[in-house]
Symmetry: C2
Subunit: 357 residues, 2 copies
């Protein structure tokens, strides 16, 4: 995370931020990390500026009713570096990121928009390769790209290709999945091994090697969520732990619902190559980004059946119960360590690695 | 429009572009100008990559049916420079651009998404000012910002603030407005004076003065379109002539519908300050961007009533008939000049001025 020196006396006249943004009169990389600093931007700038209850709910996607239809609507911009990495590309991410945000409301993505910001000088062949990756990922996920936009900025004002996708999908009747619905007694399930996307990006960007090549887990989760909903429409919370990792997702849920979350550290599936990379780099896998995993808060009576349905799906084959939801310590996530102790799993401040997605 | 030298031998292996993109192995500023070069990117890269009929229709927004509701869905990225200009800001544009794209399907915008790409080092106070402008414009247009995303890129890989908005809106029953519906006999109406946005941006960016300060016409057109639809749901085509100006919009409609368009040059309302600026700079007002105007193709029997309804609305007070739709010269736009001659009004190649929105 880098920092930028502020000018001697920033002009804050007319500035009505309810609380000062942590000594940062200028945006730093951590503001894009999906952690506490990102949350401060949203809480102190965007929510007061835009207003509205739907935005304040801060789910992965907004839930709306329009013309009698219950819709999920979500947006994500993608600035990942490099554009192609083991297991995927910015084109795949641009589809999966938005499709997964919709899936976290229980919605099956139907339509995507796609906005490109191209840097002058980027090869048209590269634009074509990214577009084809995006199109192929969309077809595989069963979602149609129906509207788009292209802007070009001068060389030195972009980084090759940035993409925004927004998506809309239909929420099935009886489904009401959102962070606020986490309840004491809920079982916390993760759909598979964590940390793969972040470590894959880090390894190619920094030229690190950890024995075997680490592949991003980048995938569209709509099918897995459908399999879970076939067991019961009464899933309480779904979240895909991208920027900020599992730690950020669990903290957001604990805060939104006013519940405590306790996980068993040993139960969290961390693959050896992620564990090795994190040990070398001094990172905690709980904070590393994923792009094809979800965490679910499921009523205890449905937990076994939902877990079985997840394990029967290719993207949930190594799903496991990692913890539970409590009345104690509302808003806080704790982990039982392998040695029998308990530690607080805090919301990360910024991001261990910028431009992960 | 700048150009970039290609490397000696670009590697085009695996490149399946149906036609070569005009000797441009690299993206140049003109690819973002909304003219022929933008269309080539869409036609030769994005449509083949993404597939799908809805995208191929290439309206300002896509028309969909989801859960029984007829929806319009649109996206736009905004990279305008400077961020604040006479008559508006990137925040206003981000709302009006998307609201207007939806209005051009006859839809009243209901919900917006908003994705920020911030450059490391930009003042948080500036982010706040832009966000408040965006929020105020959204409230004024009666649309709610319901979902968002923020990414941060390193200094030197952005330009302060880029914004993407996507929007969804409901299309009223019986309304079917799209470029393909232009018909010989249709009357072509423009809602007011053209060229103001482009000249306003140009004057502040280049430090030019043209007597009086030129204000952008940046405005949300949803209310004006509602007033027109109250006369008849049978409007054939609506288009907001942004990048590429009135010339680009008329050409796109002529091509999509396979009709000819003839306009009376003298009937096109060009305000004196735009005429002066264009005369000095050697530009044609027909190619200069607007952000609060629309062009309508209306069946002849409704033209008088629609024109009257437009003139009764503040944003259509100087609406005028500028031409008609013909069977002759399909796909071509011609202008009767003040001297009785006829000239072809071609699709612009790139943009006279980059990063106008």
């Amino acid at each position: 995370m880098s920092d930028v020196k502020a000018p001697a006396a920033p002009d804050l006249s007319g500035w009505s931020c309810p609380l000062p943004l942590r000594d940062h009169p200028r945006v730093v990389m951590g503001h894009g990390g999906g952690g506490a600093m990102s949350a401060e931007l949203v809480e102190h700038i965007f929510v007061p500026a835009f207003g509205g209850q739907t935005l304040t709910d801060l789910g992965d996607s907004a839930t709306l009713t329009l013309g009698g239809a219950r819709l999920a609507f979500s947006t994500d911009s993608f600035v990942v570096r490099p554009l192609f990495f083991p297991g995927g590309s910015i084109g795949d991410l641009a589809v999966h990121g938005t499709v997964n945000d919709l899936a976290m409301s229980g919605a099956r993505a139907a339509y995507l928009s796609c906005g490109f910001i191209l840097e002058e000088g980027v090869e048209t062949e590269l634009v074509g390769r990214v577009a084809r990756a995006l199109g192929a990922a969309a077809r595989a996920a069963g979602v149609e790209v129906v509207t788009g936009d292209t802007k070009v900025v001068e060389a030195g004002h972009g980084d090759g290709i940035y993409i925004n996708t927004s998506g809309i999908g239909l929420i099935p009747p009886g489904v009401d999945i959102r962070p606020q619905r986490a309840q004491p007694g809920d079982v916390v399930i993760v759909s598979g091994e964590i940390g793969l996307h972040g470590v894959a990006i880090m390894s190619v960007r920094e030229g690190l090697e950890f024995g075997v090549e680490v592949q991003s887990d980048c995938a569209a989760l709509g099918g897995l969520v459908e399999a879970m909903l076939a067991v019961t429409p009464d899933l309480h919370v779904l979240r895909d732990p991208t920027r900020g990792g599992l730690a950020a997702s669990l903290n957001e849920i604990a805060t939104a619902a006013g519940v405590g979350v306790r996980i068993q550290e040993r139960a969290v599936p961390v693959p050896p190559q992620v564990a090795n990379a994190c040990a070398i780099l001094g990172l905690d896998p709980m904070y590393v980004a994923n792009e094809g995993k979800l965490v679910a808060f499921v009523p205890r009576e449905h937990a076994d059946a939902v877990l079985a349905a997840m394990r029967a799906h290719p993207l949930g084959a190594s799903a496991s119960v990692i913890g539970e939801c409590l009345t104690e310590h509302p808003g806080m996530v704790v982990a039982r360590t392998a040695f029998g102790g308990t530690r607080v799993v805090d919301l990360p401040l910024g991001e261990q690695l910028p431009r992960i997605c």
